[in-house]
């Protein structure tokens, strides 16, 4: 292992062309070949270094794609999937456990959940009245009630949830997945973030490829049919751009000859082909006008609630992206101007959580059902997670502060054991006390379901072989089907 330095593949361009299946991707490698970090660290296989080509996993995957429903701000576990009757009994009385420092240090009394819980499905999983539609999918869900994070602040916790590290600079889980497995789609980015209306706190660093090459950067899609910058040609007609690209290609040929056809240049030439196709493919995948009314209705695209509508459209786009082989799709929560608080219910928990739940409940359920009916759920891991949960005691009188000590996330789909509840918090829902999960465990599980051993997915940087899971984490067997 320490001999990485000797393993740089001694390939010439011609050898490479022989060894790799054709396609521009084979040549796109060239630029990366010079980068020591990449060589020798591609997972599980000595071959294909094409950054976009699919790469074999370490072992048989249970899921090919991931849809990450990022519930930014912090869904309250005790108001959603982790009922705690004791809170109702002690409502309004001083909280009986030792209170850890909080973000606002304005800690009030025990606060009961305003919502009723009912058991659902064959599994009898309790879900609160906040999520009547998701509740109908209860048997698909593997609910983790013992999730923990290391950070009480949004930005750090967001980075941690996305990159396994509480500061900027590490690659996002989506970047790692694409780095490890490549993409099965050659005209769309492998890692797409569907915008819900607000940049998550901490900024785009949560979707950064960090020290991995920019190839694996998350592409942020805005809502609508014009989702990313520079995807629309500025030329008034396709023929005009085509005419320019024709000239460019001819002139490029001359340059290729002058430069003696180095790999880097051939890759760059080929890169334009992908870009050119993306110009059509991206708006096409974002355009949901050809979906049937029934499908649209399933997601809530026809909802009178604009937030529901927006999220429904993005959930539908997520399915379309996954259908086309996009490896990792993340959705941020829907937010409209004037209410940028996401799930961050520091005050008026009831109003905040009702508004947020109303926006996501039907679209998420619609997504699960649609994926299932199309046979895609088996190969798609759906993850519903916040950066942390909320305190069982009040912030002020009617809010809840951040709580990284015990909260709930759920998984569904490819390889996940539906209808299960894993782990437990204490009787107040404050801290995880049973089968505690770290963020690294969650990441390890996610990679495991994708067929990747989190310990072997490494990249040499800053004197270490870096991992999404740092030096921690284990896949959680109890969550696997």
């Amino acid at each position: 292992m320490h001999c990485h330095r000797f393993t740089e593949a001694p390939l010439t361009r011609r050898q490479m062309l022989r060894r790799c299946s054709a396609g521009f991707g084979a040549m796109a490698l060239a630029a990366l070949m010079g980068d020591r970090g990449f060589a020798g660290t591609a997972p599980a296989s000595d071959s294909p270094p094409n950054p976009f080509a699919p790469r074999p996993p370490h072992f048989a995957p249970r899921a090919r794609n991931v849809i990450f429903l990022f519930m930014e701000g912090g869904v309250s576990q005790i108001d959603s999937f982790d009922p705690k009757p004791r809170l109702a009994k002690e409502n309004g009385t001083p909280f009986k456990m030792k209170v850890e420092p909080t973000q606002f240090n304005n800690n009030g009394n025990t606060l009961a959940s305003p919502w009723q819980f009912k058991q659902h499905g064959n599994s009898g999983i309790p879900v609160s009245a906040l999520f009547p539609n998701i509740a109908r999918c209860a048997d698909e869900l593997a609910i983790v009630r013992s999730m923990t994070s290391d950070f009480s602040e949004h930005a750090a916790a967001n980075y941690f949830l996305h990159t396994g590290f509480g500061q900027q600079g590490r690659p996002s889980a989506g970047s790692w997945a694409c780095y490890g497995l490549g993409s099965e789609c050659q005209n769309l980015p492998g890692f797409v973030v569907l915008n819900g209306g607000k940049m998550p706190i901490g900024g785009p660093a949560a979707f950064s490829s960090g020290f991995l090459p920019a190839t694996y950067q998350g592409s942020l899609f805005r809502a609508g049919n014009d989702p990313i910058a520079n995807i629309r040609p500025l030329e008034s007609r396709p023929a005009i751009q085509a005419s320019k690209l024709r000239a460019m290609r001819q002139l490029d040929q001359s340059v290729l000859r002058r430069f003696d056809r180095p790999d880097a240049l051939e890759s760059a030439v080929a890169n334009y082909e992908m870009a050119f196709h993306m110009q059509a493919a991206v708006p096409e995948v974002a355009d949901i006008s050809n979906e049937t009314p029934a499908t649209c209705a399933l997601y809530g695209v026809d909802s009178p609630n604009p937030s529901t509508r927006l999220y429904a459209e993005n959930c539908l786009r997520a399915r379309r992206l996954v259908e086309r082989g996009v490896r990792f799709v993340e959705l941020t929560v829907p937010v409209y101007a004037g209410d940028p608080d996401t799930w961050d219910a520091h005050a008026n928990l009831r109003k905040n959580h009702e508004a947020n739940a109303a926006a996501v409940d039907q679209p998420v359920a619609g997504l699960l059902m649609d994926l299932k009916s199309r046979g895609l759920l088996d190969s798609t891991l759906v993850l519903f997670a916040s950066e942390f949960g909320r305190t069982p005691f009040a912030q002020g009188s009617d809010g809840r502060d951040h709580n990284p000590f015990g909260f709930t996330v759920w998984l569904a789909g490819g390889g996940v054991k539906g209808g299960t509840i894993h782990g437990a918090t204490d009787e107040y829902g404050y801290k995880a006390v049973e089968n505690k999960l770290t963020m690294h465990d969650l990441h390890a599980t996610m990679l495991h379901l994708l067929g990747v051993d989190h310990k072997r997915l490494t990249y040499r940087w800053g004197g270490r072989d870096m991992r999404l899971t740092d030096v921690f984490g284990d896949p959680v067997a109890a969550l696997l089907a």
Partner: protein
Amino acid sequence: MYRKWLIILASLLGAWAIAIEAGAAPFDLASRRASHWAWQPLHPSLPPNLADAGANPIDRFILAKLGEKGLSPAPEVDRRTLIRRASFALTGLPPTPREVDAFMQDAGPDAYEKVVDRLLASPRFGERWARHWMDLTRYADTLGNESDAPIPNAWRYRDYLIRAFNADLPYDQLVTEHIAGDLLNSPRRNPTDGTNESIVATGFFWLNEGKRAPVDVRQAQGDCFDNKIDVLCKTFLGLTVGCARCHDHKFDAISQADYYALYGYLESSRYTQALINGREWNNAAVALAEQKQHLREAAATTMLEQAPTIARYLLATLTPSSRPAGSVTQEIGLVPARLQQWTAALKGPLGVDHPMFPWARLAAAGESAEPAKFAKLWDGALVELKARDAQAAAARHRDGDVDLCDLATHGFSGWFSEEQAFGAAPSLPGDFLPGNSPVRPVLTFFRSGAWAHTGALSRKLQGTLRSPTFEIAHRYLHVRCAGRQARVNVNIEHYVMIQDPLYGTLRWVPDSDGAEWHTFDLGMWKGRRAYVEFADTTTPDLHSSAPKGVGADGYLALSRAVLSDQGAPTSIDPPPALALFAGTAIRSLPELANRVQSLAEESLTSFAKGELPAQPNADERAHLLAWLLEHGLLDGTGTALDGDVQSRVSEILGDIRQIELALPAPQRAPATIDGTPIDEHVFVRGNHKSLGPLTPRRMLQAIGGDKQPAPPPTTSGRLELARRFTDPANALISRVIVNRVWHHLMGRGIVASVDNFGVLGELPTHPELLDYLADGFIRDGWSIKRLARQIVLSRTFRMSSSENAEAERIDPGNRLFHRAMVRRLEGEAIRDAILQVSGRLDTKMYGPGVEVFITPFLDGGYIGAYGKPDASGPMDGDGRRSVYMMVRRNFLPPMMVAFDAPPPVNTAGRRSVSNVPAQALILMNDPFIVQQAGFWAKRVLAEIPASRERRIARMYEQAFSRPPADDEMETAVRFLDEHGQELGIAPNQRGEHPGLWTDLAHVLINVKEFTYLN
């Protein structure tokens, strides 16, 4: 020699690998140090003596290696390619057609040398190399994280780098200034404006991501310091010391103790916004101090003139009010108006804390009181005074309270007075605060203890006073201050973003001319370290928004700072009258009046000589004088002497105003300064809650040795640390920088892992060359320019990039440098080149960064992105070079990100080179690119007469430093026709049609030669 190390290394690694597999990895620093090449001293050897190798030693080393493998170097590249390569390598810009022509026409043997010297002398050189350096020090203008708050004046550090590289600042000096530029006896001065240049370099420590409102502030400090240590050691030493935060390094000779030994330097240092034009301010402060003495002397003359009448006025106030005041005063030669002032001054209850308390008590009894009655009253007054005094003493020494400062006895000892306003020492009782009116040149006398007062010389001076670092053992901090437009911050564990949530209560903005107590509740942070910052400056703190009411013209006066477990301060001052009158036998009011007068006369006489603070009972005397002064009782009364004195006072006040008006605007830069020296414990497994042994501050043991002297007792020791870094015996310092220069010029370092010379890094391909260059670099005065010159002039640099199948087989990956490398330009170079060809490049240097261009896509159309600038910057960045664009961590410019500009998080000496569709999409569809293509087209149409071929040729020369080949010319001409047709432009208009030529320009920007160098 190297080979020998290699063998040793290989065997050791083998043994070690076995040990790892057996589950044991013993940490033995000495053997690790002995076994890894990078720790060994420089071992320069003579360049191999080869025929045909030429004079440049670089070529001899390279050729020798090639010869061993039976390889020949690639032939020399053509001149056009060479000047293009050298121009981009040294300045980040393509050569202009004129520069290319000049080179082509210069048949002299030194033609290329002249080009290289021109490029090295170009101001563009510094811009290019500063940007390289900014990759190392993760330069950004904002803190990222949740609020993306600004790092005010970060751009001064960028400008520092540009000047440093242009001036070819010796590298050891550059390193020293980065680590300890604030501690140099005679800092370097900016040659143009005389500002302190050296201290600006220390700002790099503070360019890390800044966490907002951490719940565990000690943990946040650990994360933040970890980044600083990592950047420091990677940048200068090529060592991954950050890997030793939680345990001894897994591979290198770096112990966890090494890590925490460095941590202590950061704990012993503090953040500031340094006043870099402080020299002018210092001079002004000296001149103001001189004027203040003049003012004192002049003012004392007037006051002393009034003093002899004090007793008479006092007694005159006893006169029954029924008698007409005028008649009495005329009788005894007093001025009626003045007597009215005296009467007014003595009116009202003059309580026990008043210096005239005994007078007030006894005057009530009347002028003609019986001696016995007088004595009784007198004794009664003394009893009250003593009781009050006892109360004051008890309050002063409340059980459990601890004074954070003792200004009167210890001055600023252990404290840190930065800039001029607080001066070198507090103002003692009896010192005076200057006024600005000729009638009252003395505003008042300091009393009730010593004061740290920023207006003691002039309110225009600015400054910060910082307490020693202390561990919070009490719940409360009570501070007693007066002030306007100033602030008091409590910085806990170096956390300086004082704002809500959690930290908002750690700032107080006093707004009263009377002293007030303020209480900070520190209960949340018991056990944490903190210091208190008293500031009267224009730049409030690490985030931009000035707290409400803080500005330039305010002042801050600190009297006490008390740590306490009680929620309220105690604040009783000793009654001044006790000391003034207690020791004297007073039997009548006239005696008392005389006593008052003699006290005033004595005190004023001392004051005139500047000796009042040294007098016994100076504080009490100051109380008396202040009372007299503040009631106008010492003002001149219009005699001839008054007139002279007043005109003298006016003159001095005029001089003071002149000095104040001449003060330059403050220029500030983020910087590091010393705080209380602190050694840190090892954090077991990186956890601050689990402390291991104390680790005194020192250099890494593998470099500094086992026995290193402790840092001087009152400093952080950073200067001594810097000396360790730059010690020529530390082979890493020279090897790492030489390798970086080689990397940037040649495309790959001799050690390819430029930031990691450790075991997990790569071995040098040419260790002898590396050491030869490193050794020569030191001998040649640590000159980066001369090193770059030597490399760029080498035949090795000038080789063609053409591949030869046989050579590729023997030297795959070109590790032996048998040819030049084809390289993609950095995003900055691409953008700058576009601006240059379009004619829109503005070569203006320096200054605040150009605001980021915010598109609807930059934040994904998201609302509520914290830290989003109020207004977007211009799309073309005002045509400035990319190095001058602001770097907002949460709004990184998409073009730079797509072309692999590293995120500003850590040292990134080698950029990755990716090939992603976003790059093509930007060059194809970004409005900025199309806009510049339009400018380029118009420029060519305007500058070159109406010939399609000549215009096309010109564009090729501008973009690619060469004329088009025939087939290229043919393609371009055909494009104009066919594309013109596609656009529906009549044939006779195609020659001048800006839209058509814009499209050609756009095509050329997309031709790969625009973004790749051969």
